[in-house]
Symmetry: C2
Subunit: 192 residues, 2 copies
């Protein structure tokens, strides 16, 4: 498992997106997670984009270039890490809709993953930004599961986020202070 040559140490940014969708929330979360690390509050990272590499050209001793690769569907969520010794896990999505969040945004494998983490007492939630309303909600997976298990709808209405979710205020730093919401939920610590 040595690291290959051709490594680019100076730039660990991941190529992420396809159209602008999702970029802003992701950028905000990256700076937020960096802030949490800087103040030694939590260590939460975005996972690299999963890809399948088919062809690598070892152009020279010091340069490996991936020449053919494909995106693969993620089986877990994008973000996980540690906060107060506990496992934290979440998925973040943006939607342009002003009325609802389509469940097509979350893959079936990811829903299974969210259920598993919830059942194993992880701190697990969604962060959903309604970009055209400039509203960002945190929805605990318990409430997400409650919805999909009790509704045939293919989308979660904004009203459900207003009722069951937690509005994350826009701040300068950190941009998306979701741990402030988690801190306010003492219920999370009753399971122990």
């Amino acid at each position: 498992m040595n690291y290959p040559n051709g490594i680019k140490k100076e730039n660990t940014k991941q190529f992420i997106n396809y159209g602008n969708r999702g970029m802003n929330l992701e950028r905000d979360l990256n700076t937020t997670n960096q802030y949490y690390r800087d103040i030694d509050k939590a260590y939460i990272y975005k996972k690299p984009t999963p890809i399948k590499i088919v062809n690598v050209d070892y152009q020279s001793r010091n340069l490996a270039v991936i020449k053919e690769a494909y995106f693969v569907e993620p089986s877990t969520t994008d973000y996980n890490g540690i906060y107060k010794g506990k496992y934290i896990d979440f998925e973040a999505k943006e939607t342009k809709s002003k009325t609802s969040f389509s469940l097509d945004n979350i893959h079936p494998h990811q829903i299974t993953h969210l259920r598993n983490i919830y059942n194993h007492q992880g701190i697990v939630f969604l962060i959903v930004r309604f970009t055209n309303l400039d509203l960002t909600y945190l929805l605990m997976v318990k409430d997400f599961i409650d919805f999909i298990d009790n509704n045939k709808r293919k989308s979660i209405p904004l009203d459900y986020f207003k009722k069951k979710g937690y509005l994350i205020k826009n701040k300068l730093q950190p941009r998306v202070d979701y741990l402030e919401i988690i801190d306010s939920m003492e219920v999370l610590y009753e399971k122990e």
Copy 2:
């Protein structure tokens, strides 16, 4: 953050390695983690290999091909997840040496990461396999840090693993039962 076209649902395997080094331990850990998931014991995954994507060819509506990308140095460890509600995190390495494990195998960023997770009460360790001896050790990060903070050596001798580490027996299923070792360490649960 919608998933792009060109997704390969049927194959989520990651391209991993460069020469055979590390392949066997990684494969064993993947089947072990799959086994833990199958029996609903723990949800621990290998993170995708971090890469920087430079050029994507959208050949058709349904096929995106990455045409140029580079490996980037990981800032965290390869494996993390949840076990008994707690955050678990480890790095796995193979070495051909029969006498020591070179510290060149672990990047400085990763060492910082391991320290951070340890300080935040994560369950954090290394799994090191001496392939030519067929010995696989689990070394808690506490002992790893003790070593590097108190030695100028650039490698950890096998004897240190024998003294401070835990031998993981080869089993049929799961192949590398590292959680059995963790279960035996009540000390981990004294921090709460």
